[in-house]
Amino acid sequence: MEIIRYRRDVWGQEVILGVSWDLLWLVAVTAFLLLAAHAIFMAALAKKKAMPSAEGKRVRRHEGIDRAFHWIMAGSVLVLIFTGIAPIIGLRISWLNIHWIAGLILSFVCIFHTIRALFWQDFKSMLLGPADFKEPFDDTIKPGKYSFEQKGMHWAMTVLVVAVIATGITLFLHIDSPWWDRPSVENEATLGIFFLLHGISTLGLIAFTAIHIYFAVRPEKRFYTRSMVKGWISEDELNTNHDTDKWKPE
C-alpha cells in the first residue's frame, strides 16, 4: 500500500502528486472497525447508566444562530467529502463546482463562527486545559458546558477544517473560477504538497466526521444532537452530565 502518490513534473522530475487514496480505504475500514468495536463494547460490556429524562425544565444550550452555523458547516463538510470522494471511487458526477462552492460556504461560516466565538460567545468554555484531561478517567468529574470529548472533537475538527480550507483555497486558486483564470504553476512540487496536505486533512476530516456522527446518534448522546437541533437540554440531562458550577446556563 502506498501512502503518497508521485508523478513526473513537466521536466521529468519526480514530485508529489498527492495522498494515496489507498488510505481512504484504510481510514474507512479503520473508522468502521473502531466504531463497531465501541458499539459492541457499549452494548455488551459497559455499565448501563440510567438515561436522564428529557422531560422537565428546558435549559438553552445552543443559540439559533449557532445551530444554524453548525448545520451549514455540517452540510458543507458532507458535501465536500461526498464531492471529493465521488471521482475517486468512480462516481460520475460533475463535482468540482459543487465542491468549491461548498468549500467557500464552509470558509465563510467558519470565519463567522470564529469571530462570533471570540467576541460574543463564552470562548473559555471550549478551551481545553490540563484539568480536562483528568475528566475521562474520573467518573466524579463532570464537565462544564462541553465535555472533554466534545472539546477534543471540536479542536480536532477545527484543525482539520482549517487545514482543509487553507489547502483547498490554495488549490482553488489554481483552477479557473468566475473571478480569475488558471495561473501557471511555478513549482509543481509545491502544488503536490498542497494536494498532499489537502488529502491528508480530508482523510482526518472523514475519520472525525464519522466518529462525530456515530456519537451523535448514540443513545446516550442523542440529547446533544437534539440540542443542536432544538437548542435545549433538560435540567435532568444538565445535572446528570454537567457540573453546573462550571456551566451556568441562563
Binding site: 513537466v10 521536466w11 521529468g12 501557471s184
Partner: protein, 813 residues
C-alpha cells in the same frame, strides 16, 4: 544551341531502385553482429548534467555499452555537441547513447538510466533574451560572437564564442510594436549608398514589422546511420545531402586519417539544408562502433529528428521601404532579429540580400542580431533567410506598389535585376540575369492581365486573390574536381562525388560530360554514392549550387579526357592535337575519319601508355579525395581528371517568379490554389523533368511555409509541441494545387559550360511569396506581416477578432 543531352529528359539510374524498393538508405544496411544504439534526450530546456547512473541499464541482458559526452572530444558553446553535458540547452538534446542487441532492449535500458540534472533559466523567445534582464539561453550569453573567419552557412565553426547583446526595455517594446529600436546594438550591419538621402527622394514610404516562424526540416529519412570498422577502416553508412565534400569533415569527427574512411551514401531521404555537411551525431555512430568493436546502427526516431534534425531560423523584423516616383525602389532599411535556436544561426544578412537583388534598391541598410534560445538548433533550410524574406516582403511590396499606383508586376519588372544587376553589401555583379524576361514569360503563362482584372468577390463567401512573388539564391560556385574513366570495353564511367539528395543533380551534372564527349548515354555509367567506388571531391549539395558548379567540373574532366584521347590518337596517327576531332565515340583525324580509334580502344592504349593516361600521374591541384580515387583506378582505363579552373566572376543568381490565384473561403479561412504558374531563371535547362520536380517541390515547400508549417513552443516550460509530422503540418496532396504549371526560362549563364544555374531554393521563395501576396490581395490589402498565415488568423481577421494575429513571435503560434 542544340545539345545532344542537355535539355533532354533521361532516367537517372537510381529511379528504378526507388520504385522497386531496391534503393538503399542508411537504415537499410545490416551487418553481422550489428547492435542497435539509441539516445537518451534531455527533458529540461536548460541546465547541466550533474551525474549519470547507468548501472541498472548496463546490467540488463543484451545491453552492450554506453556512450556519453565523455567519450567525445570536448566541445565548447556555441558548437552544437553530439551529446550534451555541461551545457544542456534544449529539450530533446541528446545526452547519451546505449547500444543493445535489439532496439527494444536499448529502449528499455534507456528508461533505467538515472540522470541528475541541474536546471538553469531558459528562454524561447529571442526578444525575451534580448531584453535587459531577460534570461540567457547559455550561462555566458545569448548570441554568437565571431572571433575569426566566417562559419559556413548553417553550421557553427571554431573561432566562435557565446557573447551577450541586450536591448533596453524601451527598445524591445518599440521593436515589438513595429517601430525602429532607436540606438539598439546589433551583431552585424551593412549599408550601401546614402540611405537617408535616397529616402528623402522617395514619394512612397512604408514601414512594417514582420515575423516568420521557425520550421523544422523533418526530412522524411531521419539521420539514422550505421558504421563498422574493418582492418582499421571505418565504413560509414549515413544520410547526407552532399557526399565527398563531407569526407574529410567526417574523418575529422572520428579523428582518423581520411584515407581510412569509406563513406557510403547511395540515397538520402531528404535534407533540405539540414544534411549539407556531416552533423554532430555521426560522431557517435562511428566512435561507438570503434569502442564496441561491433557494427552500430544509431537509429534516430521521428521525435529525435525534430530535436537534432535542424530547423529554419524564425525572424522578427522591421523594414522601411521607399519608392521613387519612377517606381524604382529608392531605399530600404531593414532590421532583423533572428532566432538561432540553441545553436546554428540566423540568416538575417541573406534575408536582406534577397531584398537587395530582387528590387535593386539604390541604397540600403541592414542591421541584424541572431539570438540563441532554448529551442532546437537551427541551420540552413531551403533558401535560409532569402525565402522567409521573400514571404513577408511580397505583400509589403504590393502595398507600396499599390500606394504608388503601380501594377504589381510592372513594379517588379522595373526593379528586377538585369545582367548588370548588383547584389548585397558589396554591390557585386551577377554572372547573368534574365529576370525581366522571366517575369514576362510567367505573367504570360499565368495570364496576369486577364486575371488581375477579374472581380475579387467570387461568391458571397469566396474571394479571389492574385499573387506574385520572386525567389532568389546564389546558385553556383567553382573549384571542384571532375573524374571520368573510360574502360577498354568503351564504357564511360562518369564519377561524381555529388550527393543524391533527391534532385537528380548528381546525374544531371554528368550530362555535361556526356555532352562534351558526344557519347551515347547508354554507354555511360554514373558512379556515385559509395566512396569505395572511387569518387572525386565534389561540391556540397546546398544553396542551389550543384548544377552550375558541377557541370563545370564534369566539363573540365571531359575536356581532359578528350585531350588525352586526342594525344593517344596522335601517338598512333601523328599530326597535331588540333587535327583531331571526336564523334560517334571515336577520336579521329578531322581530315580523315578512318584514321582514329574508338573510345574503348583509346582506353586500352591508355593502359598501355600509362602515365597520366591511365591515372598513374595526375594533376597536383586536385583534392586528396580525388587523388585517392585516381590511385585506386590506376591502370584500369583512360582517366580524365581535372579541377575546375574555369573563370568565374560575380554572384550566380538562381531566380524564379511565381503567380498564384487562390479562392479564399471567408467563413473558414481555407483556400484553394486554382492556378500556380512559375518560371525558373536557372540558365539553360539541363534536365526538364528534374527542373519540374524542383519547381513543383519548391512550390509545395512555399505553400507549406506560407500557410501550414510551424514551430510551436510552450514558452512557460520550453516544451516543443510539433515534434511529430502532423503537428508540424507539412502540406499533403490535398493542400496543394491539383496541377502545377512550371517552366524554365532556358537562357544560358555564360559562366557555366552548358549555361546552367541551380534553382532549388528560389523554387520555394517564389511560391511562398506569391501565396502571401495572394492572401493580401484577397483580403483587400490586409497585411498579416507573418508566416504562416493559417485559417484561424484569416477567420480572426475577418471577424475583426484581434486575437492571435497581434502577438508576433518566432516560436509560438
Amino acid at each position: 544551341m542544340t545539345y545532344m543531352h542537355i535539355g533532354k529528359d533521361f532516367t537517372p539510374p537510381d529511379v528504378e531502385g526507388k520504385v522497386t524498393g531496391a534503393a538503399r538508405y542508411a537504415e537499410d544496411f545490416k551487418k553481422d553482429g550489428m547492435v542497435f544504439a539509441r539516445m537518451l534526450t534531455s527533458p529540461i530546456p536548460a541546465g547541466r548534467v550533474v551525474s549519470i547512473d547507468a548501472s541498472a541499464a548496463l546490467a540488463m541482458p543484451g545491453v552492450v555499452g554506453i556512450f556519453t559526452a565523455d567519450d567525445l572530444p570536448p566541445s565548447a558553446p556555441p558548437a552544437n555537441p553530439a551529446l550534451a553535458k555541461e551545457y544542456v540547452t534544449y529539450i530533446g538534446q541528446p545526452i547519451l547513447a546505449i547500444a543493445a542487441e535489439s532496439d527494444l532492449i536499448a529502449e528499455e535500458a534507456l528508461a533505467k538510466v538515472v540522470v541528475e540534472y541541474q536546471r538553469r533559466p531558459f528562454v524561447v523567445d529571442p526578444l525575451d533574451t534580448l531584453t535587459e534582464g531577460g534570461p540567457d539561453p547559455y550561462p555566458m550569453g545569448n548570441t554568437l560572437i565571431r572571433n575569426t573567419g566566417e562559419a559556413a552557412a548553417g553550421t557553427t565553426a571554431s573561432g566562435t564564442d557565446v557573447g551577450r547583446i541586450k536591448w533596453s526595455i524601451d527598445q524591445v517594446t518599440a521593436f515589438r510594436n513595429g517601430r525602429e529600436p532607436a540606438g539598439a546594438q546589433f551583431g552585424s550591419e551593412w549599408e550601401y549608398g546614402d540611405v537617408a538621402a535616397r529616402f528623402a527622394e522617395c514619394t512612397t514610404v512604408i514601414e512594417e514589422p514582420f515575423v516568420t516562424i521557425g520550421q523544422p526540416h523533418h526530412s522524411l529519412e531521419s539521420r539514422t546511420s550505421m558504421a563498422y570498422w574493418e582492418n582499421g577502416k571505418c565504413y560509414f553508412h549515413g544520410s547526407l545531402q552532399s557526399h565527398t565534400v563531407g569526407h574529410d569533415v567526417l574523418a575529422g569527427m572520428l579523428e582518423i586519417d581520411p584515407a581510412n574512411l569509406v563513406f557510403i551514401n547511395e540515397n538520402t531521404g531528404g535534407g533540405f539544408g539540414s544534411k549539407i555537411f556531416p552533423y554532430p551525431n555521426m560522431a557517435i555512430t562511428g566512435r561507438f562502433a570503434r569502442q564496441l568493436n561491433r557494427p552500430v546502427q544509431l537509429r534516430i526516431t521521428r521525435a529525435e529528428e525534430f530535436f537534432i534534425g535542424s530547423a529554419r531560423s524564425g525572424m522578427q523584423g522591421w523594414i522601411k521601404i521607399g519608392l521613387k516616383d519612377t517606381g524604382r525602389v529608392g531605399a530600404v532599411d531593414v532590421i532583423i532579429v533572428n532566432d538561432a535556436g540553441s545553436g546554428g544561426g540566423g540568416s538575417g544578412s541573406s534575408s536582406a540580400e534577397h531584398v537587395s537583388i530582387m528590387f535593386q534598391p539604390e541604397a540600403m541598410r541592414f542591421r541584424g542580431v541572431s539570438m540563441y534560445t532554448n529551442t532546437t538548433p537551427r541551420g540552413a533550410q531551403r533558401g535560409p533567410g532569402q525565402n522567409e524574406m521573400a514571404a513577408v516582403l511580397a505583400p509589403m511590396m504590393d502595398k507600396a506598389a499599390n500606394m504608388a499606383g503601380l501594377d504589381r508586376v510592372a513594379f517588379r519588372r522595373i526593379n528586377a535585376p538585369r545582367a548588370d544587376g548588383k547584389i548585397g553589401e558589396r554591390q557585386g555583379g551577377l554572372s547573368s540575369s534574365y529576370m525581366p524576361e522571366s517575369i514576362d514569360k510567367a505573367a504570360q503563362m499565368f495570364n496576369w492581365q486577364e486575371k488581375i482584372a477579374k472581380p475579387r468577390q467570387v461568391s458571397a463567401t469566396k474571394v479571389r486573390g492574385i499573387g506574385v512573388g520572386q525567389g532568389f539564391h546564389t546558385a553556383g560556385s567553382n573549384g571542384y574536381d571532375g573524374l571520368i574513366r573510360i574502360a577498354p570495353d568503351g564504357t564511360i564511367y562518369l564519377h561524381t562525388g555529388v550527393g543524391n539528395l533527391g534532385t537528380y543533380s548528381y546525374a544531371g551534372i554528368t550530362r555535361a560530360a556526356a555532352e562534351a564527349l558526344q557519347c551515347n548515354w547508354d554507354n555511360c555509367v554514373i558512379v556515385h554514392g559509395n566512396e569505395a567506388l572511387n569518387l572525386p571531391h565534389s561540391t556540397y549539395q546546398g544553396g542551389s549550387n550543384t548544377m552550375f558548379t558541377e557541370t563545370r567540373s564534369s566539363h573540365v574532366a571531359a575536356l581532359d579526357i578528350i585531350e588525352k584521347m586526342k594525344e593517344i590518337a596522335m601517338a598512333e596517327f601523328g599530326g597535331a592535337i588540333e587535327d583531331y576531332s571526336i564523334g560517334g565515340e571515336r577520336v579521329f583525324l578531322t581530315s580523315d575519319s578512318s584514321k582514329g580509334m574508338s573510345y574503348g580502344e583509346a582506353a586500352q592504349k591508355a593502359i598501355e601508355m600509362g602515365g597520366k593516361y591511365s591515372g598513374m600521374e595526375y594533376p597536383d591541384n586536385i583534392h586528396r579525395t580525388t587523388q585517392r580515387s585516381v590511385q585506386a583506378m590506376q591502370g584500369t582505363g583512360l582517366i580524365g581528371v581535372a579541377k575546375d579552373m574555369l573563370p568565374r566572376d560575380g554572384a550566380v543568381p538562381g531566380m524564379a517568379i511565381a503567380f498564384v490565384e487562390i479562392e479564399l473561403d471567408t467563413e473558414t479561412g481555407k483556400f484553394d490554389i486554382l492556378d500556380y504558374s512559375a518560371v525558373a531563371e536557372c540558365g539553360t535547362v539541363v534536365h526538364p523533368q528534374g527542373l519540374s520536380q524542383a519547381m513543383n517541390g519548391g512550390g509545395v515547400w512555399g505553400f507549406g511555409m506560407a500557410a501550414y508549417e510551424r514551430h510551436v513552443y510552450d514558452p512557460q516550460n520550453g516544451l516543443p509541441a510539433n515534434v511529430g509530422l502532423y503537428q508540424s503540418k507539412p502540406p499533403t496532396y490535398l493542400d496543394v494545387p491539383v496541377t502545377m504549371n512550371t517552366a524554365g526560362m532556358d537562357l544560358p549563364d555564360p559562366q557555366s559550360p552548358v549555361g546552367a544555374k541551380g534553382i532549388g531554393e528560389p523554387a520555394q521563395g517564389c511560391a511562398v511569396a506569391a501565396l502571401m501576396s495572394a492572401f493580401t490581395d484577397a483580403l483587400d490589402g490586409h497585411l498579416f506581416n507573418r508566416t504562416p498565415v493559417t485559417a484561424d488568423m484569416i477567420v480572426n481577421h475577418i471577424a475583426q477578432n484581434g486575437h492571435n494575429t497581434g502577438n508576433l513571435k518566432t516560436n509560438t503560434f
